[in-house]
């Protein structure tokens, strides 16, 4: 930290309170549902009650005659207007070279419905209640088809999409198969594991919502929507769905109450509201309720995996072989195909030097809600698999899992893994050692004995995770099938009075950008943080942006701001040189002042800003008036946050209740802008990770009905379920971006599940503990353990 920075400046690394919180806490946030447009009508969707059915006939005559009904629209109307399908923007090719089989995904179903909650028709009425009443009167004649709800048997089920035999979207591979097989052939020991990574519902506090509006004068649309990436929404709705050209479609994502990935995607609801606004000549509003969120928000995870780890005599990992079946749900959602492939298998090397890795992924359709990115997106699945098998391998070798990990850690950087990624920096031994110390790993046996005296089973488990964030170098992801580049843009507008607006393509929906981004500008320009406003989420204001996901807003979004600030500083120096009658090369900028080197002649930043606009003191033939610069930043690499989490827990064998006694998270996120916000991100992530491990799980029955359709059955972690976390940091600077940032948004959700399950398997003395490890499941396992011990 720079001690000479004036007190009015908020330096990088300061734990300042979030600027946006006053607005949120006092109820002054403005969310999509808070907006009302003149003449607005309300949309309510008729959803399929069946998992799989052919639509024989839709009769909306009675519904259209109901009070207040403006219109009832169906897939046939979409077709009449020539609207395109919703798309998946990442092309994956199968092993045989064939492109993935992308089933048709109209925003309103045409021939078939493919999951419970699928969109059949929309009723637009004067009030929401009238729309709901009329929705009941829409007569849909279905021809039922067998549901395909079980991932394990889905390839033998009724075909869901005409283009996808055996319900397979693709069969993909990554890595060197021959080298991996050779490693297994010479292995001294092989550990194998079967893993189910449970399906999760994203559960943002704010449900999805949309208002579509059409201005017949300008022939232009405006869409207010709960989006993590409004420009991408505009791009898809323009270029693929074909609602309007980009210059005639404005997308605004105002305050958004959490996303966790689920608001990246372009869904049927906002598509229909936008299109329908022109069709009915009224603004059309839809706000999802919690039941609709459970049914139709894209879910996360849902893998079945068999994997094997090959080791030599000395306990070095020499090969890793993985076969995963990934559930895609009924349709390929916007980025669904990239999640179990390039965001998953590329992380299978973890923190370990593994010379040979081969991974096969079969992506399979089922008659369930689409599955796409959810906090971590592929990386939690990879980490869970690897950290479980590593733990198991160590135990089978009779070795301390911490020492087994330490032996196999990557210790020099850069490190090229066999699965694409080149890790730029890290110190895995440092985070392991610190975590072991903070968790008092050595004292565990004594604590376990104490628990045993109290009739409890105690366990400890490690997880040494890595993730790839800062998504991502555009050319690299392009070569892997991405339909877009993953750079970010920023614009820094300095006003004549010296305050600043930062326009960013990142979107804040809980991450605190209004604070951290302002902190960056404050520190750089030497102006108070409250003189910096962050503008985001509006395609009419921000020129373009790729949005917020994959812990990219710091590493990529802020790097773009740094580039724009570089340009602002360069131009301001030129102006200052004229004002100070010095040569440009002699101007130094520090602590908010431009100084002629070696003199006491200086100007405040605000003076230079004013002069940039007054333009009295420099030749405008050489320097344009004004002080506003934009930049696009394309990352040179992914970033690689990593860390070590240790969970210690106690099982009550009488009830199966698991109590987490301590949870230690030691993370390396590179440089930190605001440690308080980072800590909050870690806490939230761990909460979701523990939720996945012990509580959460989406369940469909064999007919494809959603069993966990409300909080009566879907277990969300509550504060009382979680311990007080012990979080700490180690630090290696990220060499791949100007700020040295790695990203922190997903680490908790990635690191926590294997730490918890490794602790639980340790406590229960069996490797076979499914997620979520609910009390009833844990009790059954503890019972089996007791019987086993009694028999011995």
């Amino acid at each position: 930290m720079n001690a000479s920075v004036s007190s009015s400046v908020t330096p990088i690394g300061a734990a300042v309170r979030r600027k946006e919180d006053h607005r949120f806490i006092t109820g002054k946030g403005r969310y999509t549902d808070d907006m009302d447009r003149p003449g607005q009508a309300y949309a309510y969707f008729v959803r399929s009650p069946y998992a799989h059915a052919r639509i024989r006939h839709i009769d909306a005559t009675a519904a259209k005659a109901m009070p207040g009904v403006v219109d009832v629209l169906t897939g046939a109307d979409l077709a009449t207007d020539g609207l395109g399908d919703l798309i998946c923007g990442w092309m994956i090719h199968s092993k045989d070279g064939s492109p993935m089989k992308m089933g048709s995904h109209p925003a309103l179903a045409k021939e078939k419905v493919r999951y419970v909650g699928d969109h059949v028709a929309v009723v637009i009425a004067e009030t929401l209640n009238q729309a709901k009443d009329a929705a009941l009167a829409v007569e849909v004649e279905y021809e039922l088809l067998p549901a395909v709800a079980d991932l394990a048997t889905a390839t033998d089920g009724e075909q869901i999409h005409e283009c996808a035999p055996r319900n397979t979207a693709f069969e993909w591979e990554l890595g060197d198969k021959a080298a991996t097989e050779a490693a297994f052939a010479r292995a001294a020991k092989v550990t194998s594991i079967d893993i189910v990574n449970n399906r999760l519902a994203p559960n943002a506090i704010e449900p999805r919502a949309a208002i579509g509006e059409y201005d017949s004068g300008d022939e232009a649309f405006t869409l207010w929507t709960t989006s993590q990436n409004p420009h991408v929404a505009r791009l898809v709705l323009s270029a693929f769905v074909g609602i309007a050209p980009e210059n005639k479609l404005r997308v605004i994502a105002p305050d958004v109450g959490g996303g966790f990935g689920s608001k990246i995607f372009i869904y049927a609801e906002e598509t229909v509201c936008t299109w329908a606004a022109k069709k009915v000549g009224r603004p059309v509003k839809w706000t999802g309720d919690r039941s609709e969120a459970f049914l139709s928000d894209a879910h996360g995870r849902d893998h079945i995996t068999h994997a094997e780890l090959a080791m030599d005599e000395a306990g070095h990992i020499i090969g890793f072989r993985v076969h995963t079946r990934a559930n895609m749900g009924a349709y390929l959602s916007t980025f669904a195909s990239s999640i179990p492939t390039y965001l998953y298998a590329t992380l299978l090397s973890g923190q370990y030097a593994i010379p040979a890795i081969y991974c096969e992924v079969d992506a399979v359709y089922t008659t369930t809600a689409p599955v796409d990115a959810y906090r971590g997106a592929g990386r939690p699945e990879a980490t869970f698999l690897l950290e479980r098998i590593v733990e198991k391998a160590a135990r089978e070798r009779g070795e301390d899992p911490a020492e087994f990990r330490r032996r196999n850690f990557i210790k020099s950087f850069p490190h090229q893994t066999p699965v694409i990624m080149c890790y730029d920096a890290g110190d895995y031994v440092a985070s392991l050692d610190k975590a072991l110390e903070v968790a008092d790993y050595k004292g565990f046996p004594a604590r376990r004995a104490e628990s045993e005296r109290n009739g409890k089973l105690r366990g400890i488990g490690l997880s040494a995770y890595i993730e790839a964030c800062g998504i991502a170098p555009s050319a690299a992801v392009g070569s892997l099938g991405a339909g877009v580049g993953l750079w970010e843009s920023a614009e820094v507008r300095v006003n004549p009075t010296g305050n600043v607006e930062v326009l960013t393509g990142s979107h804040s929906h809980g991450q605190g950008h209004e604070t951290t981004f302002a902190q960056l500008v404050s520190a750089r320009l030497g102006i108070p943080i409250d003189q910096v406003s962050v503008v985001h989420g509006d395609t009419d204001k921000v020129q373009f942006g790729m949005g917020t996901y994959g812990s990219r807003s710091g590493a990529v979004g802020m790097s773009a701001i740094v580039k724009a600030l570089d340009k602002v500083e360069a131009k301001a120096k030129k102006i200052a040189a004229h004002m100070l009658e010095a040569s440009e090369g002699d101007i130094e900028f520090k602590d908010g002042r431009f100084t002629v080197a070696g003199t006491d002649r200086s100007l405040a930043f605000a003076e230079v800003a004013l002069n940039a606009y007054v333009a009295h003191k420099f030749p405008t033939s050489e320097i344009e008036p004004g002080l506003k610069e934009g930049a696009f930043y394309d990352p040179t690499n992914f970033t690689f946050p990593a860390g070590c989490h240790i969970c210690e827990l106690e099982v009550d064998p009488e009830t199966g209740v698991v109590e987490i006694k301590s949870f230690v998270a030691i993370d390396d996120f590179g440089e930190i802008i605001n440690p308080m916000i980072v800590e909050g991100q870690v806490h939230g992530g761990i909460g979701q990770g523990i939720g996945q491990a012990l509580m959460e799980g989406v369940t469909y029955d064999e007919d494809g009905q959603l069993v966990t359709g409300s909080y009566m059955d879907y277990t969300m972690p509550r504060a009382g379920d979680l311990p007080s976390f012990t979080v700490g940091m180690t630090q290696t600077r990220c060499p791949s971006n100007p700020l040295g940032i790695k990203g922190c948004g997903e680490a908790g959700a990635i690191g926590a599940p294997p730490a918890v399950i490794n602790a639980l398997t340790n406590a229960l003395g069996t490797e076979d503990v499914p997620m979520p490890a609910t009390p009833s499941r844990v009790w059954a396992i503890a019972q089996a353990r007791a019987s086993r011990l009694a028999a011995e």
């Binding site: 209640n129 709901k132 039941s291 009488e654 009830t655 199966g656 509580m695 369940t699 069993v707 966990t708 909080y711 009566m712 059955d713 879907y714 277990t715 969300m716 609910t774 009390p775 009833s776 009790w779 059954a780």
Partner: protein
């Protein structure tokens, strides 16, 4: 929510008259089940008859036998009541364990009993304590009151006015919460009088709350944790669902019985 008429009579007779005249009208007590049901359009009553302004339905008083609790008394008030705590401390404890703070501040004992949710807490206390449910028409003994899932002895339009709890020598309640809903997966209320021990189980039974007579019989002759250590509950009539098998609920009932006893016997 569908449209409905809203009525707020200030006397029991007036409320009863509205409910008798219109079988589609529903009494509104604390609304902790009814209002979410309405919001989800799972019920469409013609009218809600709000009982909250009828003075004689609320309040707690000591009786010669024990304590009497007005039907519209909120859970939070029962939990905080010195009268209840003096007569039957376990009943005050149970009320303090229902739902969360918001539910306890709105939910009522009468509403809970009339709804007879198989995972509600109060039915276990009423049954184990052998309380009397008093309505605008009659008195109903606890053993006759509960008739199955969401079914009670109440006739159409009949309004619970109060519940009379007899004082007991000792009582205790322990429950295991459903991890998702936090309703009881197994809640066990143990009540000991000079004559007998009654054990009621909520949350676990396929037909709602029930008396665990075997446990009561054993404890009647030997009131100790040890006496029931070998006892098992037959799972054949217990619920089985996503959150646990019937066998698991049987186990939970057993553990909760032990914990309820431990809370009494120390």
């Amino acid at each position: 929510m569908y449209a409905f008429d809203y009525q707020r009579p200030d006397a029991i007779a007036a409320a009863a008259a509205i409910l008798s005249a219109d079988p589609e009208a529903k009494a509104l007590a604390g609304g902790q089940t009814l209002l979410p049901t309405l919001k989800q359009r799972l019920a469409q009553p013609t009218a809600l008859v709000d009982l909250s302004r009828i003075p004689e339905l609320s309040g707690i008083c000591a009786t010669t036998e024990g304590v009497s609790i007005g039907a519209m008394t909120r859970h939070a008030d029962v939990a905080a009541s010195e009268l209840v705590r003096a007569a039957i401390p376990a009943l005050a404890d149970l009320a303090g364990m229902i739902g969360d703070v918001a539910v306890r501040n709105r939910g009522t004992i009468g509403g809970s009993l009339a709804n007879d949710d198989p995972t509600a807490d109060y039915p276990a206390a009423v049954l184990a304590l052998n309380a009397t449910v008093v309505t605008d028409r009659r008195s109903i003994g606890a053993s006759d009151f509960f008739r199955g899932l969401f079914e009670t002895a109440l006739k159409e339009g009949e309004i619970i006015t109060r519940v009379d709890f007899p004082k007991v020598e000792k009582a205790g309640y322990a429950k295991f919460r459903n991890p998702a809903s936090r309703y009881a997966m197994a809640g066990v209320f143990v009540a000991k009088t000079a004559a007998e021990v009654r054990v009621a189980v909520t949350g676990a039974g396929q037909s709602g709350v029930f008396l665990w007579t075997e446990a009561g019989d054993i404890l009647s002759s030997d009131f100790s944790v040890q006496a029931v250590s070998g006892l098992a509950l037959d799972p054949s009539n217990l619920m089985s669902d996503l959150h646990g098998s019937a066998e698991y609920r049987a186990q939970l009932a057993k553990v909760m019985l032990k914990r309820a006893l431990a809370s009494i016997t120390g």
